[in-house]
């Protein structure tokens, strides 16, 4: 192969380049010159790379004119596949004929590829050629011919394949069976189910791999009339071969009509529990025709795994008629069974189900009462007065269920019920449940400010710091202006526990309006621990939130002013680097003036300078003022690896060189940037020999460290 002098079509090639026109429609007269130019490339001594890309273009713009030139490339091992890209795409008899002709002279892989293309084009005139190749001594060729015949899929193709099925060698038989099944699928799709069935049956009877039998059996079932198909399907359900049983599960879901459902129900009753559980799932995937009573019976009694599967399936297919049985099951002592029944009761759709549950609620007694309350909550039914009444019960389970249900259903106008249960619970045991319920209710209130006002007022009503903290947690989850005020006030209070809770919640606040509160706290909090926490929270907002550019710069400036330790200042530098702009550059240059920060700030300055656009002259002036001059950097040699396993990365590094002694890679990961991990599982190092303004230097960097090259002395 000739080596192209220019780099050809490197990885990303915008299609809007010269490959394609941007006209709204490509007129016929515009195609011819383009095709002529393309053909000139194929006829020239252009490098193979250029011819390859030309084939791609001909796939769109080539006509019958291009076929002879493309056909010549079929004998070229490097270009065969490129030529076939065009030949498969160009419509018309010429391309078919060229591919057929090529089969006379090619062999091995090139012949296989050509036959595959004939199959894709479904060339009916190639049946004779393909049939002959079924006897090819090269089993890969024979296999390709078999599948190609399957794609052609007509009567003569299927005839050849059916004949070969009985006589072919073992190595080819699987592909012949595949071809047969493809033919049968075509017949079935065209309405000739008799022929399809015959072919499927022949494959099933042949000595072919199990997967071919599976495909043929599926087809054989779907091609038969119901009276024959259902017994065949049941035969698979009863097969000791796991794969055939699995096939039956899948095919049962595809089976048309409603007659099979009763057969499935019967099979489910007679088979092993393990299989019955799976059959129930298949039954439930036929919601229109499923025998619901059979599934309900299986839910009521029998082996546990079958019951669980049936109870779960009722989520999808159950209706109001299942309610009495499911309620009974939900009260059983087996937790798995009862829990699954509750889940199902929560999810069965239907207004009539809702209506019946609401009707049963006031009449319920014993264990049924908390169950009905739970269902009211889980189905989010409106029964607040009944739930409030239930809070008066002496039964802990009833009260807990009522609180949880209120959490799911109460509106703002009765949120006070839950607030009261938190602030002054009638039963102290109820407090944790009430808090969870209040939180669940609060976070779904449409008017969160109004909700926050109620919660904040409740803080004033309780003397308990523990309860206040719980309310603060809920306020933080609700968010909004009033919540922020309340949590900010707690953080500034005199109570240590409230300070702790308040500062923690502010540090996790989900909106940027917490920044001023955190800023104040970081200056004024009495305890250094909380000042630090507030500082980190403030910086978190600068680092993570969507903010106007100038606001983020201002925040970073404030953060520098507030930071007391170099470690904190380094955190601010990280934010500067993450959001490079002129303002951040100024701050980073300022940071360089602090001796303890200079080493960390310098690479940040250079990285920002590299990334930002705008007035480069001004940037360079700024850098010069900061003592950073533009340099000429060359990489002499760079190696990445460990021990004796080293990868030469000189070119990659050189590609990233700019005008400063800092190299920014495409990824923070050396492995990614350098095209892979040269020594997996081992600590690696990057060693660089370089020249800056003609002076040679050398430096080593730990894996993934910033590459800041010291100025050679």
């Amino acid at each position: 192969m000739q080596n192209s002098q220019r780099i050809t079509q490197f990885v990303i090639l915008l299609v809007t380049l010269n490959l394609l026109w941007t006209a709204t429609a490509v007129a016929e007269d515009a195609v011819a010159p383009q095709e002529a130019e393309l053909l000139a490339v194929l006829r020239s001594d252009a490098p193979a790379a250029d011819k390859a890309i030309t084939c791609k273009k001909l796939a769109i713009y080539g006509s019958a004119e291009a076929v002879p030139d493309l056909a010549k490339l079929l004998a070229d091992p490097e270009l065969n596949s490129w030529a076939r890209i065009a030949l498969e795409a160009i419509p018309g008899e010429e391309a078919d004929e060229a591919l057929r002709n090529a089969t006379e002279s090619l062999d091995g892989l090139l012949l296989v590829g050509t036959i595959n293309s004939i199959g894709v084009r479904q060339d009916a005139q190639a049946v004779e050629i393909l049939s002959a190749h079924l006897q090819d001594a090269d089993s890969d060729v024979a296999s390709a011919a078999a599948v190609a015949l399957g794609h052609v899929g007509n009567a003569s193709a299927s005839e050849s394949l059916r004949q070969a099925l009985a006589t072919a060698s073992l190595s080819v038989r699987s592909s012949i069976a595949e071809g047969c099944v493809l033919c049968a699928e075509s017949f079935l799709a065209d309405g000739d189910s008799d022929t399809a069935r015959q072919i499927y049956d022949e494959v099933r009877a042949a000595d072919v791999p199990l997967q071919r039998v599976i495909e043929a059996t599926r087809g054989a079932i779907l091609a038969r009339k119901e009276d024959e198909a259902i017994p065949l399907l049941m035969e698979q359900f009863r097969s000791p071969v796991k794969q055939l049983f699995q096939l039956a599960l899948g095919t049962a879901r595809e089976f048309p009509g409603g007659d099979v459902d009763q057969a499935l129900a019967n099979e489910m009753r007679r088979t092993s529990p393990e299989r019955a559980a799976l059959i129930i799932q298949a039954m439930a995937d036929r919601p229109e025709t499923v025998v619901l009573t059979a599934v309900l019976d299986a839910a009521r009694q029998g082996p546990k795994e079958v019951r669980l599967s049936a109870i779960e399936a009722l989520k999808r297919i159950g209706d109001v008629s299942c309610l009495p049985s499911l309620l009974e099951i939900a009260l059983e002592t087996d937790e798995d069974v009862a829990g699954t029944a509750k889940d199902t009761l929560s999810e069965i759709p239907g207004d009539d189900v809702d209506g019946q549950i609401l009707a049963l609620l006031p009449q319920s007694e014993g264990g049924m009462y908390p169950l009905m309350i739970e269902l009211v909550g889980r189905r989010r039914l409106q029964a607040v007065p009944e739930l409030i009444k239930a809070l008066e019960s002496s039964d802990n389970d009833v009260r807990s269920a009522a609180l949880i249900a209120l959490g799911e259903t109460v509106n703002l106008d009765r949120l006070d019920v839950l607030v009261n249960q938190v602030v002054s619970p009638d039963h102290s045991d109820d407090a944790p449940v009430a808090q969870r319920a209040l939180k669940a209710a609060s976070v779904r209130m449409p008017d969160r400010e109004a909700c926050a006002v109620m919660l904040a007022d409740a803080i004033d009503q309780t003397p308990s710091v523990k309860t206040m903290s719980a309310l603060l947690e809920i306020l933080a989850a609700v968010g909004g202006t009033r919540s922020l005020e309340a949590v900010g006030a707690a953080a500034n209070s005199a109570d240590a526990q409230l300070q702790d809770t308040g500062t923690r919640l502010l540090g996790q606040w989900m909106t940027a309006d917490a920044a001023p509160v955190l800023l104040d706290l970081s200056k004024s909090a009495s305890d250094g621990k909380y000042r630090d926490r507030a500082f980190r929270g403030y910086l978190r907002i600068a680092r993570q939130f969507v903010l106007p550019e100038q606001e983020r710069v201002d925040m970073c400036e404030q953060a520098f002013e507030m930071s007391r330790r170099p470690a904190d200042q380094k955190l601010v530098l990280e934010v500067l680097e993450r959001y490079p702009n002129a303002g951040m550059l100024g701050l980073a240059i300022q940071a360089m003036q602090t001796p303890e920060l200079k080493d960390d700030a310098t690479p940040v300055v250079l990285k920002i300078a590299e990334k930002i656009g705008g007035d480069q002259k001004q940037i360079i002036e700024q850098l010069s003022k900061a003592g950073l001059e533009k340099v000429k950097l060359e990489i002499v040699q760079a190696e990445y690896g460990a021990g004796t396993t080293q990868k030469n990365v000189t070119d990659i590094l050189q590609e990233q060189v700019r005008n400063f002694p800092l190299i920014t890679l495409k990824s923070n990961s050396y492995n990614t940037s350098f095209g892979g991990d040269p020594a997996p599982g081992v600590v690696k190092e990057l060693k660089v020999r370089y020249r800056i303004d003609g002076k040679e230097g050398e430096a080593s960097f730990a894996e993934n460290a910033p590459i800041f090259l010291p100025l050679p002395k």
Partner: protein, 428 residues
Amino acid sequence: MSDTVTQVPRRAFLKSALSVTGTAMLAPTIIPSSALGLDGAVAPSDRIVVGGIGIGNRGTYDLSCFLQQPDVQFVAVCDVKERRRLAVKKIADDHHGNENCDMYRDFRDLLDRSDIDALLIATGPNWHATMAMNAAKAGKDMYCEKPVTKNISQSLILAETMRRTGRVFQAGTQRRNLPHFAFACELARTGRLGKLKKVYAHPAGMQAMMSGWLPPEPEPDREVVDWNMYLGPAAWRPFNEKLLDGFNFEKGGGLVGGGVLEWGSHCVDLCQWAVGDCPPPVEYDPPKDGELVARYENGTELIFREKGWIPLGSCPVRFEGETGWVEAGDSGKIVLSSPELLAGRQVEEIGGYPATFHVRDFLDCVKTRSKPKGNADAACNAHIACHAANIALALDRQVKFDNTTHTFIDDEQANRLRSEALREPWRL
């Protein structure tokens, strides 16, 4: 795409899924392990024996999701790169506490193993469809990373092959098993937003790309990197290390592919879910002002939009109906036109697009033979929408697609971009 993801235990998800949905939204394919006879412990006969092919960065994350599942026994890895074979074997052996993970260079040797039930296919996109179909014909179920196909033809053949072979296929579209995306799609699908007018997907860069033919470099020993197998179905070209990244190599065949396909296979897939997994749009306009508009048969618009998103993380989608809208993204959060749309529900926020639940969905379906969320039919439709959009982008004009014949209407150029020949000996 970043591999930064969050792992969440399944139990937590099942609980949250119930809290999200209240109805059957996430229920169909998940049944208690005890219902399958597992009851906490996993009998050897109930284990799913899994092999992995092309386990690189993303695949390693996927593998971790598989290994979290107690019923998974990972026994074999195949890779054209020796260092990846060794790295994955170490992960698997360390996890299982044995030395049993076998290594293969040629995936056909792995497919020959009758003990392997299911595969994790996480090669580069060049191989996905071809390998998935070879796996199906070998009787394996598979979880296959996206983008799943390189063109429209492959998408159709993939769906047909999975039907014909009876295999369980799960595309790596894990957002279908996350509660907030599920909730957003449910709002759209069930009419709670009113008549659906527009669904928006974020393509993250509407540029088509192709891999080329770079200057030859000395080819490594086949045991170190098997270049022939790496190329696989892609047209031949000489070895060049720059093409070895897998992630971008031959992503989308012909002159199309790239950005719309990379992210569209996620966010367009969600839009497809929102419209009830109906056939893909029938009209595709060329991009204008950062938007590419496609139209479904019923007039609903699918809009590939680059800008104008509420900041909800990567892979955002927006569904607009006559009476409301919802937007969701990878932060795990949703934004609604009205809180009333919640109807009292709380939507569990799971950020970081973990694949754990999607893997579990797949494994459950391997047992029940039900269809997983990212099944081949759903993946086929979503990928066709992406490929057709890319063709409109490449031709820079409107194209019209017929969902009955699966061809472009009176448009030979567009139809020629529906498929691309595979290098010998590969076929679908």
